[in-house]
Amino acid sequence: MTFLLVSLALLWLGGAVAAGLRSRPESGQLAGQAGAVAGSALGLFAAIGVLIGGKAETLSASWPMPGGGLHIEIDTLSAFFLLPVFGLSLLTGIYGRSYLEGREGAAAAGSWFHLNMLTAAMALVIVARDGLLFLVVWEIMALSSFFLVIFDDRRESVRYAAWIYLAATHLGTAFLLVLFVLLGTLSGSSDFSGYPAVLQGDPTLSSAIFVLALIGFGSKAGIVPAHVWLPEAHPAAPSHASALMSGAMIKVGIYGLVRILTFMSGPPAWWGWALIAAGASSGVLGVLYALAQHDLKRLLAYHSVENIGIILIGIGIGVLGLAYGMTALAVIGFAAGLLHVINHSIFKGLLFLDAGAVQHAAHSVELEELGGLLKRMPWTGASFLIGAAAIVGLPPLNGFVSEFLVFYAGYLGVVAPNPSMAAAGLMVIVSMGLISGLAAACFAKAFGVVFLGSARGREAAEAHEVAQPMLFSMAVLALLCIAIGIAAPLVVQSLAGVVAATTGLAPVRVHAALAPPTGSLTAALAVFAVLAAVAVVAWVARDRRLAVSGVRRAPVWGCGFRRPTPRMQYTASSFAQPLVTQFRLFIRNREALVPPTGYFPASASYASDSGDPFLGLLFAPTFRWFTRVVRRMNVVQHGHIHVYVLYVAATLIALLVWGKVWGSL
């Protein structure tokens, strides 16, 4: 616990010094970075200590504010979720200062305060064991990330994105407020320890709490339709902040949901169905919207929606397994969901850092202006390729391991005697198959258009590799993608502790249930070894052959056209066009086409813009209606202070009268 407290203190101190030294931004940034790196390293140490030791650490203290108490605890589940928070914060800390080079000094120094506060607040949310404390640090987390989103506040689009984010996060918080007030009132204390007793044997209350948690935490995690803030906020924030928000902060939403699930025993089957349905729709719609994007960071943001969907599908099978009393399914489902939490934070963190490197080098993340960057930025390109292959779920990388577990659980469900479990298994398999197929299409597009072929714009043609601290963070994450893939059996085994803590099953049974998929992953490693061997032999044999028969370079085939230019390459929009057209029912792709006309066409143009249908068709009209209603209440506002004093007095009198009447009853 000491480590965690010192870690939080260092994070805060570093941030505070950075904010205080705005007049000397160089030193301020250094202090902020030092706080982030040292604090995160210590925090990581604390979390790993608990995971290895297996013993929870608790701290309880009195709290000077009315209601609630200062009660924090690092148990296995908390420690598990602290890993991505501190791990990513450490790497984004290393990355951030080089990335912010060239930005306005004072603002850059100030951003370290918000970055470090975000890390500290996420950690506190994960260790909080008191409803009120939880809500307070939850709000700090929301606000510090809001300030990161609005970093570039001179651009109107950034202010708009930050506004959307602020509204979305508070809508979610409203549900959490109800949730914790309800639990706190019924249990007589805001401390978490009283919650399970209240929920025990009250299925109606449990279900109500589940729904509140799914909406409240789901809006932070980015479940469709509460995902609308992600594609706005992630592109607006600086890339290392996007990495931290997408890699760690949305996982805090998943943490909240899982934590609430541990309060309840014997979940009904419909929770599992609800989670699988929410996961499948988030997964499929997330990747479909991603396909239609041509801003790299927006595309990545939509993929976060997709991956949250995969996590929810895993947790959903787990809940269904618990409901139907099928231990193996419960264990493998939760293991899949939780492992994907870690995996997604690794490869999505990596991809956002790569996007930041592209932004830094080519001054754009607009896909249609990029191209050929692999030759100019080989390290960034290679790490993006690893991240892309991992997020698509290709063997033998880490994404494959967690997706393998989800599919494995799906196939286990398919053979279950219970027909509804079999139907759920089939639904999981089909939606996961569709998600991974579409994700492969989307990342073939993203990697292909940004890094392969020739540069489409002038800036991309003159791009240079980024600074070493940035490369270091990217390399660590890329290596983690490979390491988890290669060490898959060990990794899956080591999930037993956290799965046991989440499901409440005995560790022996969890180990037994994890043994078959672990064995399969071990055998799969042999298959991948053969793959690697064949590929290497073929590569070497071909090169030896070519050393004799010769290699030359020539322009590619242009159907008789002699000199194809970079502008004639397939673009991101054209690559995705067949899929976008096929799914036009779901994607609102607006196109503006000026076709070439006549025998000697002069100019032609095509532009496409994919707005989010949920934002345009659901939230915007709701908010417009809400604004109209609220505007009517403007009557009571006129800006005269004495009238406001009158309001205060009237309210107090009303409260007194109400209290008297209530008391006399």
Binding site: I429, G448, R553, V556
Partner: protein, 304 residues
Amino acid sequence: MPELNAFLSPLCALVVAPLVLGIINRTKAFVAGRRGPPLLQPYRDVAKGLRRGAVYGEATSALVRLGPVVNLGALVAGLLLLPFASVPAVIAFPGDVIVLVGLLALGRFATVLAALDTGSSFEGMGASREVHYAAMAEPALLLALATLTRVTGASSLTAIYGGIGVSTWGHALPTLALVAMTFLVLELVENSRIPADDPTTHLELTMIHEVMVLDHTGPDLALIQYGAALKLWLLGMLFVGLVVPLHGGNLWLDGGAALLGMAGLALVIGVVESAMARYRLVHVPQFIVGAATLSAVGFIVLLV
């Protein structure tokens, strides 16, 4: 250690797979009243490519050279998971179905990136179409295999195909027939055969797979052609294992039956290619989704 017999399946595939292409081409020629190329022509094509030098596009990086070898590695590794007649696969484990699909996806991803590496508009077009159809075909394959899993209650490819006998056809006839249809469609779509794609067309604009590998030359092209033969075999075996479920115990008889089944499949493909025209591009996804729906219906039949 797997039995020595188990290595018969991948060996057989590595040696015989190009012959299947030869049979298809001969069948098409026969139906059209031509003599056609020799049965062994695909072997000659591969050998010729291996002897040639290579020409790479001006914009290419090392990725264009990585694509064909990774694709070949993934397909050879996939063969290790494939049971052959009554012979179990070299490596069989619960969930190997998922690994097989993952390997196919990896091979395709590598090929697609190699195509995009050329910066050629035509290859980009082919790659775009390839990932489009693959996104439809992948869930279809997983769905068909899930249905077979439900029929047999088994969890590995070896156990699934070992569990399908003549008697299984007796009590699960509708489901197995529907799944077989799905496999047949996937064999055509995934291997760029008519009606999804036309491997012999001369117009780049209408091609899918062929245009994606347009700027690959020499040894790279040979590796791609050989890989295509392996993929044809791999997916074909999923179909043949289902419709020729003979497990008499005699290795030679069962193996012979499976090989005859594969030759039969080649004849069927040849006849289909001669009798049908290629679908319009926008109708191919409907074709695949329709095939997937067949397996879904087969699955639902099992539940009620």
